[in-house]
Amino acid sequence: MAISDVATFAHLSEADVEALGREFDAIRQDILESRGADDAAYIGRIISIQRRLMVAARLTLFASGFPPAWVAGTAMLAAGKILENMEIGHNVMHGQWDWMNDPEIHSGTWEWDNTCPADQWKHSHNFVHHTFTNVLGKDNDVGYGILRVTSDQKWHPVNLGQPAYNALLALLFEWGVALHDLDIVSIRKREKDPNELKRQLKGIWRKVRRQVGKDYIIFPALSGPNFLTTLSANVTANLVRNVWSYMIIFCGHFPDGAEKFTAEELEDETKPEWYLRQLLGSANFEGSRFLHVMAGSLGYQIEHHLFPDLPSNRYPEIAERVQALCEKYDLPYTTGPMYRQYGQVLRTIFRLSLPTRSVNPAPDSPKPRRATPDELRSHNGPLAPQAAVA
């Protein structure tokens, strides 16, 4: 059940919440003050690797009629696009690198290799999702307007098709992202300003034309006799990128233990409570450094949501401090191997396609540990254990 008050949910006193907020602020301040040449070198290196990968991929694919070249080129192209979208584009557009004062690596100027125009992404993601994270009815990323991912969302017969929608969303993820800021729900409710809609559609069209032109017309055409094989390579690379980014992103807020919230929580929410909501609403996954970079550092979803504008290469060290705080304040820190996190997501999506309200038959999600039966009885607000049995 969705949470309407994070402090009560976490069994923290007002003073504790304030103190926790100060600890998060201190982490932030330490990182802000220690940003320097090493961090700049990191993003410079990643960008340089990514661009070299793209050049190598495009050149290799001129010979895409030769199967090994097709495989190598497609792999490099997919890897390049994943790096660009995840570790570079997403993070640059969050303003993580604005402090370098470099107009070429700046949230104000970055445009990414994706059909979604940067300005619309920054609105739907940086603003809507990161401000109203996991708040039902406010954060359009909760199920993306087409999936029932929490039992708080009312079941509708349409949800029976969820497993199929889910597969389609994975394959066409970049297109879903492109249309996301249009806010389909508000269009359906006829609340959308038609002029704004027109402006957004124009922006998407401009971007789509360039992206499609490059991947599906220009580079295949430049391959001459290998037109079709280059085309199939480019389609495949885009699909691989789509499925990969879909998985990473779904592991961020839909595994067990990533809580949802009601709009009530937003009323008079303080900054420390905002931190707490980000912590409770996000889920990490574990993996090697390579996996984390390819995931755009979103294996550190919790840290990313607490500090979306701190450089992504610093998340590992931030994670250690955040985990220590969770120990100290007896708060859940949701993480696990990627296959398990994604397995939970899939299970939720499949189960919630039915009118069931039970997501999790054998709850193994971390829960606040400080709650005692007495405390539970004394609270009126909805609490986690109830959510699990509801």
Binding site: A40, S48, N101, D102, G108, F127, Q211, G213, K214, I218
Partner: protein, 368 residues
């Protein structure tokens, strides 16, 4: 693509066409974003330059010889300044310096197309210190195109007074070199003040120029020997100062004194000044500044610049020279009014405002 380096040579529109075609392949990036990985100078997206040499001048000054990359224009005028951005501790820091080389040099095909700036290390100026002592040959810097009104017309006026103090000599050095190369040296009096003889920049070159050109009269003032040179002494050593077109560059008090003297003589039209620090004279009313993207707000007084206000509020403000000349810090003003602290000019909704020299005049909203 070589044409991009010589805008006045090849037809520029062809270059643009080729670029736009190639950009269809590199979208959403530009061809430059890939090419500068091969050679750092092959990008016109942000102008770049390579430090070819750092030549020590006096104890605390050095001349940086820079080879500009694609997109650079050598069609500058003697006396103009450029912006130079240096990557230090992960950040690009910008400053502006007068070009000390002559456009007459760089346009000659026989010489390499280089430009120089001369920098004096300022006490507590961490960047100027770095430029003078910490920069190595081969370093890539960012550049901003030449600009400025402190220039010498061509042909030059018949009678000229140059009055320079300290490192204020750099734009005038460019003018002297230009007059020398073009062979158009008119009747020039150059008064230069430096703390000591050793600290006087370009001394040997100026003495050599003076022996070569009968029209060039050098007057040197070394503060340790002759005391501080004030505007009255200038009038003494150059009695016909009021008959000359004057270019004055140096510390702020010197400029203020010159401004007053020329104004008093109703000759302001003939006085050209170059300021290297913004003189913030007026103040605005202040108000509540809202930073739109984050929704953060700051209550500020009318003497606090929008840049300072934003930085204090934790906003990642773009910044450059911090003195109103490089235009790096421009942010769109969404609502309200701001005032230019140098001259009181008002900017309204939808204007791009230089945050480093403007302050809130009432409540306003910045799009950042």
């Amino acid at each position: 693509m070589d044409d991009a380096r010589e805008p006045e040579g090849g037809p520029e529109s062809n270059v643009r066409y080729v670029r736009s075609v190639v950009a269809r392949m590199t979208t959403p990036l530009l061809p430059d974003d890939y090419l500068h990985l091969v050679n750092p100078l092959w990008s016109a997206r942000e102008l770049r330059g390579k430090i070819i040499e750092v030549l020590p001048e006096t104890g605390d000054a050095a001349t940086l010889v820079i080879k500009p990359g694609w997109g650079w224009s050598f069609s500058y005028q003697a006396g103009q300044y450029i912006g130079i951005g240096v990557h230090l501790n992960g950040k690009w820091h910008w400053r502006s310096y007068s070009i000390s080389s002559s456009p007459a040099d760089s346009s000659s095909r026989s010489r390499r197309r280089l430009l120089t700036i001369t920098v004096k290390a300022m006490p507590e100026g961490f960047l100027s210190e770095h430029l003078v002592r910490g920069l190595e040959a081969g370093t890539i810097v960012r550049l901003a195109l030449p600009q400025g009104e402190f220039v010498l017309p061509d042909p030059p006026p018949a009678k000229i007074l140059f009055w320079t103090g300290g490192s204020g000599i750099t734009p005038v050095m460019s003018m002297l070199r230009t007059l020398d190369r073009r062979g158009t040296m008119p009747d020039v009096v150059h008064i230069h003040a430096a703390p000591t003889m050793e600290a006087a920049l370009f001394r040997d070159e100026r003495l050599a120029l003076a022996t070569r050109h009968v029209g060039l009269h050098l007057i040197e003032n070394f503060d340790d020997q002759h005391g501080i040179l004030d505007v009255d002494r200038v009038a003494q050593v150059c009695p016909d100062w009021d008959a000359r077109e004057a270019w004055v560059c140096g510390p702020a008090p010197m400029l203020a004194a010159a401004e007053q003297r020329w104004e008093h003589a109703k000759l302001s039209r003939r006085l050209h000044l170059e300021r290297f620090s913004a003189v913030l004279t007026t103040s605005a009313e202040g108000g509540c500044v809202t930073f739109d993207a984050s929704g953060k707000t700051a209550e500020v007084d009318g003497a606090t610049t929008l840049l300072e206000a934003g930085e204090a509020a934790g906003i990642q403000m773009p910044f450059g020279c911090r003195m109103g000349i490089c235009h790096t810090c421009i942010v769109p003003l969404k609502k309200g009014m701001v005032k230019d602290l140098r001259n009181g000019a008002e900017y309204h909704e939808n204007a791009g405002v230089q945050t480093c020299i403007t302050a809130a005049a009432g409540d306003c909203v910045l799009e950042i």
